[in-house]
């Protein structure tokens, strides 16, 4: 029999008793961890080397572009899903939780607004993510300023 969800049990809990909200929550955490791992060492590398050029040169390599593209995709999803979480926490997206009659699954919001938000997150992440990855790999790498 499935046990109820518990705190303090690590990331194994992220992938148990899944529904759409919990899948999004797990991806939210994974993308957050990836962004921290990608972003936080960068200033230290800059401080140690004394300049940005070596880091930027790495970003232009295929591996660097791949990691950066993953970062951009993570940023897009994490930002959109984070806004959804904010809207829920501040009561702007309200709904009524539905619980499975037998299994101890967590509540799933069913309001129409929430369904639209979920759909938007998925669609924008796929379309926007594809475009952002394209820009990260093939986009202009110099700034064009009118001044």
């Amino acid at each position: 029999m499935e046990s109820t969800l518990e705190s303090g049990r690590g990331f194994g809990e992220w992938f148990r008793a899944l529904n759409i909200e919990r899948v999004l929550a797990a991806i939210h955490k994974i993308t957050g961890i990836y962004m921290v791992l990608w972003l936080f060492p960068r200033p230290w590398i800059v401080i140690i080397t004394g300049h940005w050029s070596s880091l930027l040169a790495f970003d232009m390599t295929p591996i660097g572009k791949f990691l950066a593209a993953l970062f951009v995709l993570s940023f897009l999803f994490h930002g959109l899903n984070g806004l959804r979480i904010l809207l829920i926490e501040y009561g702007i997206i309200s709904g009524w939780p539905v619980r499975h009659p037998i299994k101890p699954l967590p509540a799933l919001r069913v309001s129409r607004f929430h369904r639209v938000a979920l759909l938007l997150i998925i669609v924008i992440t796929i379309i926007g993510g594809a475009y952002a990855i394209y820009l990260t790999v093939y986009g202009l790498t110099h700034l064009v300023m009118g001044v």
Partner: protein
């Protein structure tokens, strides 16, 4: 600090990024007359951080850099505490995260604002 205050700080950090960055990039394009099509063809990792440095908006950039650090660090705190049930250990983690926010925040702001791009 109360958990609700920490949660509020996470929310503020999130809003600064998700709303502030697009506004700042749009302002950059308008102020410096960057053509919209060029904006849409430029690598986002170039446009977001280095554009701020390029136009010298150090103060704005410093806020966003510090914001990344506190939002990310509080995210790490939440992640780490999923492995911990002991309240004493959680208190130690809180102190370590606070030290990390200060050190990483200083290094992040310094590298982005004062190290030439």
């Amino acid at each position: 600090m109360r958990e609700s205050t920490i949660r509020w700080l996470v929310h503020v950090g999130a809003l600064i990024m998700t709303i502030g960055i697009p506004i700042a990039v749009a302002a950059l394009a308008i102020v410096h007359r960057m053509p919209f099509m060029d904006l849409m063809r430029t690598n986002p990792l170039l446009i977001i951080p280095y554009a701020f440095v390029y136009v010298g908006w150090g103060a704005v950039w410093a806020v966003i850099a510090a914001d990344w650090v506190w939002h990310g660090s509080l995210g790490i705190r939440r992640f780490v505490e999923e492995f911990v049930n002991d309240p004493k250990l959680r208190r130690i983690i809180n102190i370590l995260i606070l030290i990390f926010i200060i050190v990483e925040g200083f290094v992040m702001v310094y590298s982005l604002v004062f190290v030439p791009a």
